[in-house]
Symmetry: C2
Subunit: 314 residues, 2 copies
């Protein structure tokens, strides 16, 4: 299959590209390189076509659809916290960009889409672990709103224009080439000051973590094995890890002695942060995919890799 | 309270303005008059301030927020079917317009919003009557996507910036001043040809209907009596009416003899039409509001009024 991966030069996208190439697919990547990096794909040389373009330009993305069998739409603003200061980033980079992808697909007759949604569509869910059929969906971050708005556009394209869709609601995805997120932040903080580690909130925030290659492999597995008009799956491990525990793991793995872990307090890291999110991955498990790392395992593995990538010494 | 009603010169909006004025509130209306009409408000003379403006212009809607206590955000593209031909209308008039309303509120410090959402956010629900907590939310029309995208933006503003919100998921709202919808269409068709009535689909489509003054009164009642951060209510009657039955009622009320009712066939009127929608209004009932018309009563009442407004003779 000829796959187009939006955001394919980014964190999750570049791992997905690796696995698609390994599986023998033809891969094109559409990326504006705002957080994606050319060198995340450089090991593929000519095997991957990188189209540098912006999803807010309908003409640009339309030009990338020729001959495509399936679009993996992963491009988005990766920084949830940004929504608290600049309020239209998620709307544009999320919902409006998704509209352009869908419209370009409709115009070119491309019929399958896989979308990187997120557990944040559940907002502060009252049922945990949270299954895919949970309602109501009241996201509390602007990033979450952009993911739910994108999902809704996709299902409307299924209902109106006959598209087929896979909606993947990601846990917190961690791993090599991470460009943001709590582990990445902690390592950068220790790098700047090896004596103390500031944690946003009281550290009791607790979420499901999934290793990035697990995430990419789960997507490919589920697309190959499921065939409804809308296929919606939580992608995550079967447990959670607290921010407090992540801080401890990062300090342990750093080998630094006498690091003071300091909490800014409050039950969430920032306005729009969900204090506790635990995904129910049993639908994915029943479809034959099980994550190879649990949450703490994914965190520790990622800590070790990112410490090598980032380096602890300034 | 000083209320700003977006879409206040429109069908539902103008009835809401009537009831807000009756209840002693101060009312400003923001409307681009694309489907709203100045004469829907003309009986209020100076009691209502009409601001003619477009929600896609952030500056324009920001200028209307001064001194406002609550925004009733009703403005939207009213024609669900339009999404099948022009695909960005609902995104712009729905989701992006809602973003501008929220951003204007944030900039001006306005803290309460009531939003006209719709039963179409439920898509083809597997549970009927459908309660507010139903999931998954997979709307099948672009209009539905714009409503769910708007709801998500609103809850994210609640979670991030401390807004308070009422999400009202409307049944099919019918009544005086109707400017679109199945009854309106049927009367116009009989006006053009009194010998036959064409019905889109097989006529077995079946939905909940609510009379427009019931809808407006329910909103005002619920805002006065509920106080959560996000208050989500289905607004509808306790039953449904089929399109086949609506066609019969319209023919009966027309007094015309020998009208041939003809069905185009298929289980839905157009791509993106939900064949069956039955809302569960028990949360609204429990909060003390009951619709005065059932679905068939609302349809018959509306047929009588619209026949007077539109006239059956060309």
């Amino acid at each position: 299959m000829h796959c187009l991966v939006t955001g394919g030069a980014g964190f999750v996208g570049s791992h997905l590209v690796d696995l698609l190439i390994e599986a023998g697919h033809r891969v094109s990547v559409f990326d504006n390189l705002s957080s994606g990096r050319r060198d995340f794909l450089s090991h593929h040389a000519e095997a991957v076509t990188l189209i540098e373009g912006d999803l807010l330009d309908l003409e640009s993305i339309s030009g990338a659809m020729d001959g495509i069998d399936i679009v993996y739409h992963l491009a988005a603003n990766p920084d949830i916290r940004l929504g608290t200061s600049i309020t239209d980033t998620d709307l544009k980079q999320g919902t409006v960009a998704t509209y352009n992808v869908l419209e370009a697909m409709r115009l070119a007759g491309v019929e399958k889409i896989a979308f990187a949604s997120s557990s944040v569509v559940y907002g502060e869910a009252e049922v945990m672990p949270t299954p895919e059929d949970y309602g109501p969906l009241f996201p509390i971050s602007l990033y979450g709103a952009s993911k739910l708005g994108s999902e809704a556009l996709i299902t409307s394209w299924v209902g109106t224009f006959g598209l087929q869709a896979w909606l993947f609601r990601f846990a917190n995805i961690v791993g090599a080439r991470g460009t943001h997120g709590v582990i990445f932040d902690f390592i950068h903080k220790l790098r700047a000051d090896p004596t103390r580690l500031e944690v946003l909130g009281n550290g009791r925030q607790e979420k499901s973590y999934m290793e990035v290659r697990d995430c990419a492999a789960a997507m490919i597995h589920l697309i190959a094995t499921t065939d409804k008009a809308v296929n919606c799956y939580n992608l995550g491990s079967n447990d959670t890890c607290s921010v407090r525990r992540i801080a401890e793991i990062v300090v342990e793995e750093s080998g630094l002695a006498n690091v003071s872990i300091e909490y800014t307090g409050g039950d969430r890291g920032w306005a729009g942060d969900v204090p506790k999110a635990m995904l129910d991955p049993s639908r994915m498990n029943a479809a034959g995919y099980n994550a190879s790392f649990n949450s703490e395992g994914a965190v520790r593995h990622t800590t070790q890799i990112l410490m090598q990538e980032i380096g602890l010494d300034e």
